[in-house]
Subunit: 297 residues, 4 copies
């Protein structure tokens, strides 16, 4: 295993890569033009995948290449690519694999997703730093301490929601957070907050969306008598539980399973689905368009 | 395989069994009393399973025993068991494994579920006779002919729905049908019809219910950008797509899948989910209570 | 969730139950006789399930009832049941749900299964005490400390294996261990050890057994080019990776997955498969016969 | 559905495409060079995907473009691309989507895979013609008749195997067959045959390979007591059941499942796994290297 671990660390930092995520109206020559840009500057492509949505008339691409041996300095890549992107009417993002994202985890009282994310982080599964945990309850502060992460307890009531969200925003800015992960944070994020925090927010919803939107999905699932339950990792948008889906998975249940069993089985789903969604996001594999995602593999 | 086939046929007819499906308020001694009834009359139990729903305070049991060597003649079993069931306030059904159910299949234009059911019937997977196919389109008549089954074409329009349902009911009575299977029958069954036809109706819905109720679930799934699609086999009740669920299954999809691909992948799901639901029903393994099912395995 | 947690704790301790696991040659009246024993003594059955293996001519049953209101004192149940079991030539085990098993976890260097078991234990998923961790490496001692569990580091070499196994046996006796869980313990257990330790040992093997027995199953899986990988929770017997299987699960992989990715995906499988196997065992739901298991649900 | 069907037919024939499957030693500029070849000649890429196997130092690519508007006549594409491929030391194949493959199906006595392939062919799922069925038994001749396909009955004994294989080869040549699908053909194909028939042969093996190689895998699975069974679609090579895997899938089983139930559940797996493998092959999505496959999606 030690060999694997060191390989993995190497992967994140020792052979840095650049990733371009591009979407534009479909037209001839897109793959060639984008690949040429990299080849002409001496880049070695290690991953290239594209998808054309015929109905939307949209071309979407992810291309990743090694920075070692690439002739353009990092700061020049974006302006240079913009010269190619502009005539294509492309929207695009450029990422460097060693520009580690700063992730905040928000929780309430349940610890399983938090523990899981922190364990995976420790196990080098995530190319991210986790400097901040925010909670509306004090319960999980000890876990934060144990992993050496700052824990901010901001209790939420109807009356204080507005001012607490101001504090949340201030913390996210103070810690220079790039992505917020709601790891069983049992509060609705206000439209105002979403408008002001322009970075992505990933949520784990404990149902197979769009079934069982809102509160108590396991109770809803039990009442409906389903034979399979699910979990959904998605980006948060203004409409509750309706944002673009990144990942889903399911597990079989039976008449023997009470709500408490659905909760228990669901925890295993939630952990793994959230982890996969976060990992895809952090590796810059997710492109959102409309209310859909392309998750490049 | 020949050995298996003959074993299977044997299973249906040469060693007939009786099955009791019982539900009653939970209390002490239920397993003992029911098992004693069979043992006292010389029966050999080959399957017994029970479930207690603590919230509903309900005891549910399936018990199956060999009729060979059983001391009570068939026609006496029901009255004899009623003497035990009455003080327990039990509702119950008695089935004999060689009393083969008569099944009608209703279809529209799609052939995959029909073909699949007929092939499985031929392969001895179903303990049933299939004397009747009803359709609101003429398209699948040739398949009926090929398998030697009567095909009744009853076109449906808003104006004719009422009178056509009268004809459907008459056909079900004429053919002495015990169970109707809607194998992609793309018409809503009226409340009147359900009131009048007192036997079970099984439907395959091409989504993971309760997600995507109603028309065009694959288009709905595509629009929502889900990463998994499903199919649901359920009993039909007056509320559309809301009846007790017997079986569900799912398959993973990706951004590469257009609606046409969801339709194709979904067909494989629909075939297998409907077949499992029908088989569980025909083997008298399904007990409905409230809007839930117990499917004994 | 707090409500669920307290319910779950209640389940383990406040309403203690007795469980009988019985296997005997198949014959008439078995369900009745066993159910009668409980009913005659005032017991309320909350779970009863049986399975008949027609080929082996074997009847296997699990029956669970509430001790509250049961007329026989605990210490009399076993001798009383023996009077029924003897003429049936039955082998059987009696368990009380509040007689919490004492579990030892054995590890090497990988922490994911250990962390997972300890987290689940904390979350009340396991009716067990975990007083002892044994390892052939010092690496995971800090985790033991963090959860307040004794950690014994017993390094293994070819030369020391024999004497170290003596120490292991002594520790298991000292801590009164009922079940050993090999949570990625990367050493083969000797035949001698198995002969002397008469209690069950559960192992997680990182493949879909019987594929890829022995060392480096992920490398083997990669070399074979499989499209799905698995994990297997099984009882340890003298033949390596050949003991009775309790639980298996799988995950899809693709050509994009290098060995390092199989290892990562496999960890998620290993955690959940081992947890399910351990839980089924601790709830006395597993009956072994021949090299097979019945896992009552 | 009618709309979908016509869309699908359109897909196969009305908008013909070219597909290049390329593999070569990894080096800079490969994506650019290949994409440029298409763009420079006016082609519109509708699918491009590549994979780099770092360990093998191999680059593998699939690129598909519309022939409408492409400046090179079909017969010139191959020689033109060879000029690019040669300096890259690439091996490659060129396919046209309207050059429908000619597929032979080989069967023994079981009909489920045959029926399924024919039904899917009828449902336009496969871009192929099926002019020939070969069997070592006469049993399935009626199905061939029903679908209007030639059926050749070539009984196999140890003594006649050699001469019958000569006849098989002659038939494959006579019918100009491009791919053979073994749809539960229960005979081992000789090394001689494989040497002489240079085209691909796809087999469905009724286990999760490499578990349960050879005869009676369901009996083997039952004896081992596995909790999951599988099926594997793979290319046939000289070593039995050891060829490159195209597709696998699994289904959960329990102690209740006898061998006959594994056979029944397995049939559903075999049908769908074989269909997926055949479809990926026919769409030219499979690249074999070493004993592994890349299945482009």
């Amino acid at each position: 295993m030690d060999r694997y671990k060191s390989l993995q660390i190497a992967n994140f930092s020792m052979h840095p890569t650049a990733v371009l995520l591009v979407s534009c109206p479909d037209q001839k020559g897109l793959v060639a033009k984008i690949a040429n840009f990299i080849y002409a500057n001496g880049g070695n492509v290690i991953h290239a995948d594209q998808h054309t949505d015929g109905i939307a008339g949209l071309f979407l691409m992810r291309i990743e290449w090694e920075l070692a041996g690439f002739n353009l300095p990092r700061e020049v890549i974006a302006p240079a690519f913009q010269a190619i992107a502009q005539p294509l009417e492309a929207t695009w993002r450029l990422h460097f694999s060693d520009a580690i994202s700063r992730m905040a985890i928000w929780v309430s009282k349940q610890d399983h997703c938090l523990y899981d994310l922190l364990w995976r982080h420790q196990a080098q599964e995530f190319p991210a730093k986790i400097p901040l945990i925010i909670s509306n309850h004090p319960d999980l502060g000890d876990i934060a301490t144990q992993f050496g992460i700052d824990y901010h307890y901001l209790p939420m009531t109807k009356e204080t929601k507005l001012e607490q969200e101001v504090k949340q925003l201030a913390l996210l800015e103070e810690y220079a957070i790039d992505v917020v992960v709601l790891a069983k944070y049992m509060q609705v994020i206000s439209e105002d907050f979403i408008n002001q925090f322009s970075k992505p927010i990933i949520n784990i919803h404990h149902s197979f969306l769009p079934a069982f939107v809102g509160a108590s999905p396991y109770q809803q699932a039990y009442d409906r008598g389903v034979k399979i339950i699910g979990a959904t990792g998605h980006y948060v948008t203004k409409e509750l539980d309706a944002g673009p889906i990144i990942e889903q998975d399911v597990v079989r249940v039976s008449h023997r399973d009470q709500v408490i069993d659905l909760v228990r089985k669901g925890k295993d789903l939630e952990r793994v689905v959230l982890a996969r969604a976060v990992r895809s996001h952090l590796q810059n594999r997710v492109l959102v368009y409309g209310n859909r995602t392309v998750v490049f593999e």
